[in-house]
Symmetry: C2
Subunit: 136 residues, 2 copies
DNA sequence: CTGTATCCGACGTGATACTG
DNA sequence: CAGTATCACGTCGGATACAG
């Protein structure tokens, strides 16, 4: 995710939450969901749960991510205080990424969601197939 | 979300999961996260937890959603078997949307995530502000 | 009331090339 | 190794108009 868009006021406006201040919890939900819902953040978080990783190490483990997107994803996570970025000024350079306590605490509810997805995948796929064939 | 994109193979390809079949759980996580992460689905699910709602009722409660996006969101949720759509062939027409058991079960981990977001919002906002001012 | 159809701008993403 | 810069493309989402 582009860090610039995370706090973009328009993201809140379109949610209709600015004119409904009593739903401040919805704003919080939306921002975290924006992070969790983006294409790569969760994958990175899950990989970092097992310990500190280097840039290319993450890139290799994910497999399908571009250099650009991994950089953007890690910057976004760093900005939100979910991962720390440690640079070793060596040649060649080495950068370690590690989950913060906040990041580790996020991993818990995310794992719960992931387990739900895994458990209910058959139902969802069946529902999709049924829906799609019904509207051939 | 556009229902046509939910099962778009490219969504899986770019995740690098097609060439890593041993990470089948990651595929499941990704698809549910795509749904949870989209702009409106979670909001709709949360509103439907309290009971059956009509189209314009949802539209009014959300406030900032366009007719088009509410339709697309509801279609996506229906396709995944998370909500049911009941049409009353009256004049004027009336359509009720209700959470399925599957949808209600999804609400649980989503709520957990929402509570995490609410609880940690101060930390995240502080981290963002710190990050942004640091890189003025 | 509950949609569908169309247009259009904005953003996310990937590919590629380049840098320290 | 770990990025940054640039471009090109596709999709998402809003606005508007129209329909049953």
């Amino acid at each position: 995710m582009n860090p610039r868009t995370s706090t973009n006021p328009s993201n809140l406006n379109v949610l209709g939450l600015t004119e409904a201040p009593e739903h401040s919890d919805c704003r919080a939900v939306s921002t975290v969901l924006a992070r969790v819902g983006d294409k790569w953040s969760v994958l990175v978080i899950m990989l970092l749960v097992d310990g500190t990783k280097r840039f290319n190490e993450l890139k290799r483990m994910i497999g399908g991510i571009s250099q650009r997107m991994l950089t953007l994803t890690l910057r976004g996570l760093e900005r939100d205080g979910l991962v720390t970025r440690t640079v070793f000024p060596t040649i060649p350079p080495r950068v370690d990424y590690e989950l913060t306590d906040l990041g580790r605490s996020l991993a818990e509810p995310v794992k719960a969601l992931g387990m739900w997805a895994f458990d209910n995948m058959p139902d969802i796929q069946a529902a999709r197939q049924h829906f799609d064939t019904k509207n051939d």
